[in-house]
Amino acid sequence: MSKTIDKVMQGFFLLCGLITVGCVCLITFYLIISGIPAVREIGLGKFLFGKVWASTAKEPLYGIMPFILTSVYGTVGAIMIGVPIGFFTAVYLAKFAPGWIKKSVGFVVSLLASIPSVVYGLVGMLVLVPAVRELFQIADGATLFAAMIVLAVMILPSIINVSVTALDAVPKKYEQGALALGATECETCFRVSVPAAKSGIIASVVLGIGRAVGEAMAVMMVSGNVANMPKLFGSVRFLTTAVASEMSYASGLQKQALFSIALVLFVFIMVINFVLRKVTLGGDGAK
């Protein structure tokens, strides 16, 4: 009797697993099927490397180079701002902070992770954008730079949490050994603990990249959303926001082209996930 229950439950669990796999397959196939026709019609080269996006003009142009470059620049910028902050926060929390600070900062970090992206966007729009305008004396603060800052803050939780976990997992005896040999606390931390937790820290950065590339709502509200080639203090549109901002009214080839953008974005995310798997599985981390 209990064996039958076991079998039934196993079947149920398998079904749950299959639902997840099914969703991924469905999305993949749907994106490929609906994304290919526009690329065919526009031409892959013109689509990927065209510099002008004018989807509703009388003679429409569908070049997504501005979006691709903006997404790449924006993510790189967010990583450049966010990774140092996140990394050093993680080092402090894992190796130097007293217990109560570690607990309370950890709580704040997880709170930061659970703030909805629209709230980031709203605060960015009402506080950050005017601040950027004042600070740099430019006409309008809705720029690539503002988007980078918002993204940098948004990726902090993933960088901090994953890095702290990796640093915590470094065996105590490594550090005790280094200290016993006369290394200072800082030397121990950066020469022993950090290298030992390397794969976890790299994974945290890749996770951050994934979050930054895929974010739509928050950047839509602070980046100005005009399809220009990216400039640090210019109005820009990301891959994600290109889809989100035009989808509601799009029709015909324009709609198909938006699916193609989504496909490009999907390829980006796939590559990032692939790298993440390589890093976490291939690394010789101290787990």
């Binding site: 729009m125 309008d140 100005g224």
Partner: protein
């Protein structure tokens, strides 16, 4: 086991009963109303359709957002009951036996920050700003400051209306392209050099509404046509062709007193 079966049976019966009573309570005219045309009218037609179906449960209302041009030809071909157009009919279209009934008028307000000293612009000046010919407020009698031009995303009905009236289609040089009226107002409110446009009904005191050619937008100036940035929302029907009972009911409802509130709720000025 037996108990569960009984329970299921009871639930099935009660569901069937509630279904029957649900059907029974409708009544009045039955059938379908098909409308086709302007994407700008989506909001007002959607609201009207919804409240209409609430009142007439047997009638099925449908709206196909294809654009004013295809909506007009759909009525001419008889593929829909009522066509929707966000421009007046052309003479040749009227000559083809089409009839226009203005349902509402869409006024688009041009807004700037409250600290802006400019209070009036001509249609040409507005077009100049949006095409990038005029880039500084000092050229318009304001204080020195680069104009921050705010527009809406392509496909937006407000953008389509604004650009067609100011003659700036495909020529706008925007600094920000925002996806909602609220975003436009919030941005203009926070940037003293910004200019934007928004549906008249959604503009509030947070921003300064400009007069265009000396006329401030209001329900009255939109209705009497003195405010320039406006366009009609038109119901197009075919002359001499009797509307079906359901379509007639919708047509009458859309022009009735009780529909006025719905039309205003959608952000436009009722025409009658």
């Amino acid at each position: 086991m037996m108990k569960r079966k009984i329970l299921t049976a009871v639930m099935a019966v009660s569901m069937a009963v509630s279904c029957l009573t649900g059907c029974g309570s409708s009544g009045g005219a039955k059938g379908t109303v098909t409308t086709d045309g302007s994407t700008s009218m989506e909001k007002v037609i959607g609201a009207l359709g919804e409240s209409f179906m609430e009142r007439n449960q047997g009638i099925n209302f449908s709206y196909n957002p294809t654009g004013s041009g295809s909506g007009i030809s759909a009525v001419a071909n008889g593929t829909c009951d009522i066509g929707l157009s966000s421009r007046n009919l052309k003479e040749e279209e009227k000559a083809d036996g089409l009839q226009e009934t203005v349902l509402a008028i869409d006024g688009i307000a041009v807004i700037v920050n409250k600290s802006n000293e400019v209070a009036d612009l001509s249609l040409e000046q507005i077009a100049g700003i949006y095409t990038g010919e005029i880039t500084n407020w000092s050229e318009l009698g304001g204080s020195d400051g680069e104009i921050v031009v705010i527009g809406r995303e392509s496909g937006s009905g407000t953008r389509d209306g604004f650009e067609s009236i100011t003659g700036t289609e495909d020529a706008c040089v925007l600094r920000q392209e925002l996806t909602s009226t609220g975003d436009v107002i919030a941005t203009v409110k926070s940037n003293e050099n910004a200019i934007g446009y928004a549906s008249l009904a959604s503009v509030d005191d947070a921003v300064l509404t400009l007069s265009v050619g000396g006329v401030l937008p209001s329900s009255e100036t939109v209705l009497d046509g003195s405010y320039a940035i406006q366009r009609p929302f038109v119901l197009v029907t075919k002359e001499g062709k009797e509307l079906s009972a359901a379509a007639k009911a919708f047509f009458d409802y859309a022009l009735s007193e009780e529909a006025k509130e719905v039309i205003e709720g959608a952000g436009v000025v009722p025409a009658n």
